[in-house]
């Protein structure tokens, strides 16, 4: 295992922590105190309708209202309604209460259509059309691998198992969509929450036609992303209002708006899988059908739900059929991953069902069927730059004492009468890879420090990771590398999306290049001073020294004091190719870079109430190399809470009778509370396989941290002896499974 001076070391802190601790980091709404108008949106009362008339005159006349806009003036407001709560009009007023009152004065005439929000209704033959796609509610596709019938012919046994439906879970970031906008002439200034400042600028330009160089977008503090903050809907609404009102406008969504409007939720999926196995548990063939709710945006993600299965299990023959079904429900979008978590909840539940039918320990069954590091991925035919899935499963299991604690389903009761269960799941994820090209810039200061200026948002830990990469390459201490500004489209270089678990590896590699660039120039200065050539120099621990004679050294501070011109470092990210030989694949081979994980959980189930308590949990993630060590740990522990929420609590409840979201708030669309968790029982394990593509051997982890959802359902089966196929696993479902309701 590589031993770095800065990378991966414990004790390095979040660079903006003091600002956060003291309430001084600026989030989007922390601007222009008392000087900004407040925006509110009028949301549709119907899930499928056309707006045939709208009258805003009474709203406009309300004292304190400064602007009202409708779909005629803003493409983020709609006349054709395909989901309950879709935005029709927007108001900017002097305060929230005035704006809210103004909404009630807008008269809307709807022509109501047939809404179908229940995916099972929408996919029935002859179902009325949802109006999302022309002429149909269903789109289908297929994928073939090998010869599936030949594969089944080799099997000793066959099982057909089902899983699903999984659950809608609505984005509920602590900071909702939020932007403060104002105009100076035709220059637009935006402070916003974000996962992709440059992407948002691009979206605004493409949607509105405003010149890109006149859109000045800053994202500093950002209150959690999870895949919901790549777009610019709320920014555009605020900006159009601001233009019309001639005043700054803040659009900071209410919880009701955040659960409806155009925010997205993770979609639902269902699986039926026919599995052929030999008696020793080797899978010979698989025939799978996935259904996914494409919602009102017509998303096609059924095939994405299968990604982890195709990548993880060594199944040479398979046939997949995918059905995406449009419904009149809120838009589907990534929630901390595009489709891997619901996918895992489906295929990894099926895997446990098959193991159970075979009488095998599910951990053993999984490990037996994993792909091996020397295999090419079936579809892409590319080698993996690192593969730690096996170690992830083994170490997550070991952390929870799997060998002692796993038992036959339903046969261990705790002394308090509750049922004990343990479950595990894991896969090779679609995320964590080297993604689209981006650039990095940094400045060396004359007092021996480095300031990076990453062009990305700051919801998670990657900005701190970049400081590690840079400090390592420059040979500075972590404390001497700082973040100057970030997320500012006028100032920073395009740094890509804080999504897909890609920043640490992608922008990180660009920062390695930028650091090398700056270091070369600094070495030229040092070499001149020391009477050496730059190739004779190294750097470490704040010193620049002669490689062959380390005591011959100067400090970075001393060398920087001799800079006669400003030293800037510039770098671009690496392609997705091997940077060192792996097995027989040479440097430069196109490769698969994928985050990998296993999550295991130990639970107690109350058979009288159906309540599930998580006692212990472990997350083992193949991160290649943890860069910002504390961030890795916090991310794993955070993933525990999120997985608990996704499997036990999160549910956007839709009343199928009218398509309404019944719980557009934090109460019934719940995240765990402090009373629900045992921090002493949480475990974070870094499996460090030293990736052959990523900078300092890293890969992305943000989504792998929350992906092996099936661990919970598998634990519930282990506890009760009953399968609960659908999410969330709420007390009512447990009681029904136990025959008590």
């Amino acid at each position: 295992m590589a031993d770095y001076a800065v990378v991966g070391k414990a004790g390095n802190k979040e660079k903006t922590i003091v600002q956060k601790l003291t309430g001084r980091l600026d989030y989007a709404d922390d601007r222009l105190p008392g000087q900004k108008l407040v925006a509110r949106t009028l949301l549709s009362r119907y899930a499928n309708a056309e707006v045939t008339a709208i009258n805003t005159s009474a709203a406009e006349a309300l004292p304190g209202v400064k602007a009202v806009i409708t779909y005629d003036e803003c493409p983020m407001l709609y006349k054709s309604i395909r989901r309950w709560g879709q935005e029709i009009a927007a108001v900017a007023a002097v305060d929230n209460e005035t704006a809210t009152r103004a909404l009630e004065l807008i008269q809307v005439t709807y022509q109501e259509g047939n809404q179908i929000s229940d995916v099972e209704e929408a996919m029935k033959p002859g179902a009325p059309l949802t109006g999302v796609w022309e002429g149909t509610n269903i789109r289908t596709s297929e994928l073939l691998r090998g010869d599936v019938e030949a594969g089944f012919a080799q099997a000793d046994q066959e099982f057909t198992e089902t899983a699903g439906w999984t659950n809608f879970w609505q984005h509920k970031e602590m900071e909702p969509w939020s932007a403060t906008t104002y105009w100076v002439g035709d220059d637009l200034y935006v402070w916003t929450t974000s996962q992709n400042p440059f992407g948002q600028r691009n979206t605004i330009k493409n949607t509105m036609g405003w010149p890109m160089h006149k859109i000045h977008l800053i994202s500093h503090g950002s209150g959690s992303g999870h895949g919901n903050k790549h777009g610019a809907n709320w920014i555009i609404i605020a900006a159009v209002l601001a233009k019309k009102a001639g005043m700054p406008v803040s659009y900071h969504l209410t919880r009701f708006e955040q659960c409806c409007s155009s925010t997205a939720h993770q979609n639902k999926g269902k699986l039926e899988m026919r599995v052929g196995v030999k008696n020793d548990g080797t899978i010979t063939a698989v025939e799978a059908t996935y259904w996914a709710d494409g919602c009102s945006g017509g998303a096609t993600t059924a095939s994405g739900m299968d990604f982890g299965f195709r990548y993880t299990y060594n199944v040479p023959h398979a046939k997949w059929t995918f059905y995406d079904i449009a419904t009149n429900t809120p838009l589907r979008g990534a929630f901390r991953c595009v489709a891997d978590p619901p996918g895992d909840a489906l295929y990894n539940l099926v895997m446990d069902k098959v193991a159970d039918k075979l009488g095998m320990d599910p951990l053993e069954f999984r490990i037996k069927n994993l792909v091996a590091p020397d295999m090419l991925q079936f579809e892409s035919k590319m080698p993996f730059s690192s593969m730690g899935i096996r170690q992830c499963l083994e170490q997550a299991a070991a952390a929870l004492d799997w060998d002692t604690k796993w038992h036959q389903p339903g046969n261990r009761t705790l002394s308090d009468g509750r049922l004990h269960g343990i479950g595990i799941a894991g896969h090779i994820d679609s995320h964590g890879q080297m993604s689209s090209p981006c650039g990095a810039i940094l400045n060396l200061t004359k007092d021996g420090k480095c300031l990076i200026a990453p062009g990305q948002s700051h919801n998670a830990g990657s900005i701190n990771a970049h400081c590690h990469h840079v400090a390592e390459v420059l040979g500075m201490k972590y404390e001497d590398v700082h973040v100057g500004d970030w997320g500012h489209t006028d100032v920073t270089s395009e740094g890509g999306s804080e999504g897909g678990s890609t920043r640490c590896i992608t922008l990180g590699s660009a920062y390695v290049e930028a650091a090398l660039d700056a270091r070369a120039e600094a070495f030229a200065v040092a070499a001149g001073w020391m009477g050496l050539t730059p190739d004779k120099l190294s750097a470490g621990d704040g010193l620049i020294f002669e490689t062959a004679n380390p005591t011959n050294s100067k400090t970075w501070v001393e060398v920087a004091g001799r800079f006669s011109y400003p030293i800037i470092g510039k770098g671009y990210s690496w392609p997705k190719k091997l940077r060192r030989q792996v097995l027989n694949w040479p440097v430069g081979t196109d490769c698969e870079v994928r985050g990998q994980m296993a999550q295991a959980v130990e639970i107690a189930v109350d058979p009288d109430t159906g309540q599930i308590e998580v006692l212990n949990m472990a997350s083992a993630i193949d991160c290649g190399q943890a860069i910002y060590r504390s961030g890795f740990n916090k991310g794993c522990f955070g993933g525990h809470e999120i997985i608990m929420g996704e499997t036990l609590m999160y549910e956007q409840v839709i009343d199928y009778g009218n398509g309404a979201s019944m719980n557009p708030n934090f109460w019934q669309n719940a995240h765990v509370t402090a009373m629900d968790i045992h921090p002493e029982g949480f475990n974070a394990i870094a499996v460090e396989t030293d990736d052959a593509c990523g900078p300092h051997g890293c890969k992305g982890v943000g989504e792998p941290e929350v992906s092996a959802l099936a661990c919970m359902a598998n634990a519930v089966y282990n506890a009760t002896g009953v399968w609960i196929d659908s999410l969330p696993i709420t007390p009512d479902k447990v009681l029904q499974a136990l025959g008590k309701a």
Binding site: G34, V94, M174, A460, F682
Partner: protein, 259 residues
Amino acid sequence: MPEKEQLTPSNPVSRRQFLKGAGIVIGGTAMGSVFLLSSCGDGGEVTKTVTKTTTAPGQTVTTTAAGQTATTTVGAVTKYICPFDNQEFDTLAALKAHLEANHVGADAANITTLTVNGDTYAFVDLKPYTSLLYLLREKLALFGAKNGCNMGECGGCTVLMDGKPVNSCLVLAVEADGASIETVEGLSDGITLSTVQQIFYDEDALQCGYCAPGIIMSATALKREKANPTLDEVREALSGHMCTCGNLNTYMAALLNLR
């Protein structure tokens, strides 16, 4: 109120400068008037306002058992001065009576006075629907408390009111008359951290930071009551807080020194 505030590129205006800039707005607007009664008479630079006793920067506020806040004082207050006619009064109540009698409309209930982080403010003609959260953020530029849900379910707006954690989004500002409010900005000058802030700093215990100010206030109230809380006490103290980064367990572990 000599507040040595750490200025950042994105926050370049000190609170004192902002408050000076807010000045005196006479007469009602839809948002209500801001009437500044208090400032620090720091180095002779004064607005037409009143000096009063405040805590020195970084000095811990001591709390008595009844939840009343006792502050250590630096610089004795002498007079309360009416900014309209410069008349002087010995007590805040006397000034308030003078204002009600001479400078505002007939509705005597229309002045709201409250103390925030040791500074006293009076607001005239506040709209009753104005929440304390809105007042803190938009009138006083204290942005630490966050609007996470505006309905008391997430704890992001938590401040201490007379020493107790409350959801400021659910407090009508006019009903905070006479209350003493503490926000996260009052715990530190931006450079020296309070006890709880230092614990979270030492453990590197934050992620996106949005829920942090609220949690810091609840944890501060807890630590004032119990220097060494148990796991259950920490759990309960934080039980009114959401954290969608999943960081609750890390905050708890930091407060308990678990990791």
